[in-house]
């Protein structure tokens, strides 16, 4: 990788390979496609929304790996009661 590539912010190919592998291995290991993950996300939003109001726009869900084991990690921001109260006015 040349100085100019770096100047242009071009990533070196080993980093490319590693990032692509990280994604592909998660899907290979869990048998979970990005589309399935999206539909899981929709189901989660529907279920959780029945109990508490959430900020569905900024909810994030993904698979993280810890050694050879995977975990499903969801970050679900809740809407505060204050905001809810204001909106109900």
């Amino acid at each position: 990788m040349s100085f100019f590539d770096r100047l242009l912010g071009k990533k070196n190919s080993a980093d490319n390979a590693k990032e692509r592998l990280q994604l592909v291995l998660i899907h290979d290991r869990t048998d979970l496609t990005p589309a399935e993950l999206d539909s899981l996300k929709d189901d989660l939003i529907a279920t959780i929304s029945r109990h508490v109001e959430i900020d569905a726009q900024s909810m994030r869900i993904g698979v993280q790996h810890d050694g050879r084991s995977q975990r499903l990690v969801a970050d679900i921001p809740l809407k505060t009661t204050r905001r809810r109260a204001r909106r109900s006015k």
Partner: protein, 265 residues
């Protein structure tokens, strides 16, 4: 002590399974161990040519399993190392000629008389692979620092865990230190980070591997070759010795070293 049965597999073809089996067998035999290596790639045998024993084959593994010869008759003694034997694959049959229980029976007969039985698995994850891992005490997964080979290695490691043959240990083969240095090849650390298994060795890319396979004398016989050194070190680790990993950074000519000194690389 009964033999340790070790299978070398990879998922992807062409990453160096057969080369690794031949060189680990030579490395172990050079250390004084009694070694039998078995070519598990029925229909596509190659361990015989890598070891330079192709002209001595009379019987093969399928002849043993189907009772046409005794086990000893199919074992070919190496030209240089009297404690190293090869059981060749059949060339005109397919993988279905052998079953996992056939392999278990065959290896049971070898366990008491040898220190190591090395099995060369075919590529893929089907019958031939299942045969190759059936009797294994330990499975070594070999890969290259290359995207498709690492992906396939991960699949194989997953299957080994599911079959309770895991976790498997890793050999990274054909690593090019100059490419790694330029960040144009995954480093050994990157591969380990992705696969999260134990590492038993890193073998650098080395043209001597091709030269020695042309001659039918595995590179582990070559005292000067870096790949040969790496394979001999892995053989020692398989015997339970602690051997530090090769420092693969010190490659390249004077110019590269000069560039390193002046901080240009």
């Amino acid at each position: 002590m009964p033999a340790q049965v070790i299978t070398i597999t990879s998922g992807k073809g062409g990453v160096g399974k057969t080369t690794a089996v031949a060189n680990l067998a030579v490395g172990l035999a050079l250390e004084g161990a009694k070694v039998v290596c078995i070519d598990g790639d029925i229909g596509l045998r190659n361990l015989d040519v890598i070891l330079g024993l192709e002209n001595r084959i009379v019987y093969d593994i399928v002849d043993v399993i189907e009772g046409r010869c005794r086990l000893k008759q199919a074992m070919i003694r190496d030209k240089k190392l009297p404690e190293l034997y090869l059981i060749p694959a059949a060339q005109t049959r397919d993988k279905n000629a052998v079953s996992p229980s056939d392999m278990n029976r065959l290896i049971k007969d070898l366990r008491n008389d040898y220190d190591f039985v090395l099995i060369d698995s075919p590529a893929g994850i089907e019958r031939g692979f299942k045969n190759a891992i059936a009797a294994a005490d330990r499975v070594l997964v070999i890969t290259n620092p290359e995207i498709s080979a690492v992906r396939d290695a991960d699949r194989v490691i997953g299957i080994l865990e599911a079959e309770e043959k895991g976790p498997g240990a890793l050999i990274i083969n054909r690593l090019n230190p100059a490419l790694v240095k330029n960040h144009n090849m995954l480093s050994a650390e990157d591969v380990l980070d992705l696969l999260a298994v134990e590492l038993v060795g890193v073998v650098p890319e080395d043209e001597n591997v091709i030269i020695s396979s042309n001659r039918g004398a595995p590179v582990a016989f070559d005292a000067k070759s870096r790949a040969g050194q790496a394979f001999r070190n892995i053989a020692k680790r398989l015997r339970g010795e602690t051997v530090p990993f090769l420092d693969l950074d010190h490659t390249g000519g004077l110019w590269q070293q000069f560039q390193r000194l002046t901080g240009r690389k």
